[in-house]
């Protein structure tokens, strides 16, 4: 295994984060703080509890997930798209690194950044809203699993995109709507029966539901199904990246 190669990619990507600390970390934390102030404090104080959890506390897992998904996708997609765009990918393609090692470097760095950001947002939320974490180990497990899975998904978008516009299309037009409609700000049980059924086709529902369960022990869908769905998506993404590297799709042809 090319450990030095993995480390080189990982450090390169982390260095990029530190160069753009404001955009990478400070901006998402600030934006989420505004959500807490507006929805948690201002509007939340006028809303009733959901399953015995105050509205301000209820939206914390959803907001963390919202950022985790967006940041994982954008970090990883940008990480692999930039060398494609700048032409420096020639070095990666000619290096003695396997596809698994490339993934460990890029996806590892993107997931690290997202997890750090998620924890920072959790810490920031504490300043505005009191909350408890019922299952801290499961919370960390969901955080890691989601960060890795969606960093992998972002990596695929970065491989597929051949313009900055395409890089933005999937996060903006698919992921953000699915996250907002995935129960970040409400419980699925609050929807009319038909929409409760339709919303189960949204994969983000399972992520947010599972993550919220680790905080408050309440879930819209069974936790085992949440974990299973996330693992399923992870395996699909891994299989796709393996196929890309095997066939050279869009990168070696």
């Amino acid at each position: 295994m090319n450990i030095y190669g993995i480390r080189a990619i990982y450090h390169f990507e982390m260095a990029r984060t530190f160069r753009t600390l404001w955009e990478s970390i400070a901006a998402p934390v600030l934006t989420t703080s505004l959500y807490f102030i507006v929805f948690g404090k201002a509007i939340g104080s006028r809303m009733g509890d959901i399953d015995s959890v105050s509205y301000g506390a209820f939206i914390i897992p959803g907001l963390v997930m919202l950022n985790l998904l967006n940041e994982s996708i954008s970090n990883a997609s940008f990480g692999i798209y930039m060398p494609k765009w700048a032409g420096t990918i020639y070095e990666l393609l000619s290096a003695p690194v396997s596809w698994a090692e490339v993934l460990l470097g890029y996806v590892g760095a993107a997931a690290t950044k997202s997890v750090v950001l998620g924890l920072l947002i959790l810490g920031t939320a504490r300043l505005f809203v009191p909350y408890e974490i019922a299952h801290p180990l499961w919370m960390v497990a969901f955080l890691l699993l989601t960060a890795v899975t969606f960093s992998l998904f972002g990596f695929i978008i970065g491989l597929w995109a051949d313009s900055f516009q395409k890089l933005q299309v999937v996060p903006m037009l698919v992921v953000t709507p699915l996250t907002f409609l995935g129960g970040a700000f409400y419980s699925v049980n609050m929807l009319p029966p038909l929409w409760q059924k339709i919303t189960l086709f949204n994969p983000v529902v399972y992520l947010i539901s599972g993550f919220r369960w680790s905080f408050y022990g309440i879930a819209d869908v069974n936790v085992a199904i949440s974990i299973g769905m996330t693992f399923g998506f992870l395996i699909i993404c891994l299989a796709f990246v393996w196929w890309v590297f095997k066939t050279g799709y869009k990168i070696r042809n």
């Binding site: 160069r19 003695p96 690194v97």
Partner: protein
């Protein structure tokens, strides 16, 4: 295009490349690169030089064929094969926001080598980049960026170095520095494969020459042998009295008359044992043709290159 070398450092057999659009960039390429040589790959734009290099380095997949680098199959044993190769690409692809030091450290790690600050310092000093080590690449001139790319390619101590059009867009000083460095690397045992548009550079530097045209490798030959084999010499005889046409008695000789009628031009093959000059001079004397000066010229590699790529395929030997 097989050489007699029993231990080629690069061994290419039956390599074809057809791009998804249907364009066939390489047609059944066979090539051996000898250990420790400087090999120049010449060809017009779009001939397939960069595609061939990219396939050997692993950047582009071949449609068919096999390649080994330093004894390792570039597909099955790609780690060992790629670890032995350094590539300086044609375009100035750099990480603009990185420092010079960070980017060569990255390259060394990427190619699986343990950190070695002393070696990297030597590489930067050899390329006159040491003073720029903390500068961001975006702040460097084009020539300096080219040096950074060379430093990146050398960061993992490769035994094979590909230089794809390294002289493109660089000033004379850098070009001379670069060629000095290439000779130094060769002296240390590094095999160097370069493509260049500056044919005189290939003439000065290379041990062997390969010419590729329209995806086909049309000749691979020792440089001296190629120039002897395909080179022509010309002897210009400056006449005392201009003439309107060549006398009929001299028709057997491959002579041409200059436009102003002041000189007879005799072309002869450098490969033949006898140039025929002595006999020609005797024949001229017999016809009463007197001359006041003699000038001999030899065809350059450029002349040979141009004649090769413009000759119909069937006419080549």
């Amino acid at each position: 295009m097989n050489s007699d070398n029993p231990d080629p450092i690069i061994f290419v057999r039956g390599v074809n490349k057809t791009y998804p659009g249907g364009f066939q960039a390489l047609k059944n390429i066979d090539l051996d690169i000898k250990r420790g040589e400087i090999f120049a790959l010449l060809g017009p734009n779009g001939a397939g030089k960069t595609t061939l290099i990219s396939i050997i380095c692993g950047i582009v997949n071949a449609t068919s064929g096999t390649i080994t680098a330093d004894g390792h199959d570039t597909v099955r044993d790609y780690r060992a094969a790629r670890a032995s190769i350094g590539l300086v690409p044609q375009e100035l692809h750099t990480d603009a926001f990185e420092s010079v030091w960070a980017t060569i450290k990255f390259s060394r790690g990427l190619f699986g080598k343990a950190p070695n600050a002393a070696y990297l310092e030597k590489v930067l000093r050899d390329l006159s980049l040491w003073d720029k080590r903390d500068q961001k690449i975006m702040a460097l001139s084009g020539g300096m960026k080219r040096r950074v790319l060379i430093a990146k390619a050398l960061a993992h101590e490769p035994t094979i170095l590909f230089l794809d059009e390294p002289s493109a867009g660089v000033d004379v000083e850098l070009r001379h520095d670069m060629w000095r460095m290439v000779h130094g690397l060769r002296a240390q045992g590094t095999t160097i494969i370069l493509t260049t548009h500056y044919i005189e550079e290939a003439e000065d530097m290379a041990d062997r020459i390969g010419v590729i045209n329209k995806g086909e490798l049309i000749v691979v030959e020792d440089k001296e042998r190629l120039m002897r084999k395909l080179g022509k010499k010309q002897l210009a005889l400056v006449l005392r009295k201009p003439m309107a046409s060549i006398p009929a008695g001299l028709n057997a000789w491959p002579l041409t008359l200059s436009d102003d009628g002041q000189a007879l031009i005799y072309s002869f093959d450098t490969q033949k044992e006898e140039s025929g000059i002595a006999e020609l001079l005797r024949a001229l004397g017999e016809h009463g043709i007197d001359f006041k000066d003699l000038q001999s010229t030899e065809s350059s590699l450029e002349d040979i290159f141009v004649s090769l790529v413009h000759k119909p395929m069937g006419a080549r030997e």
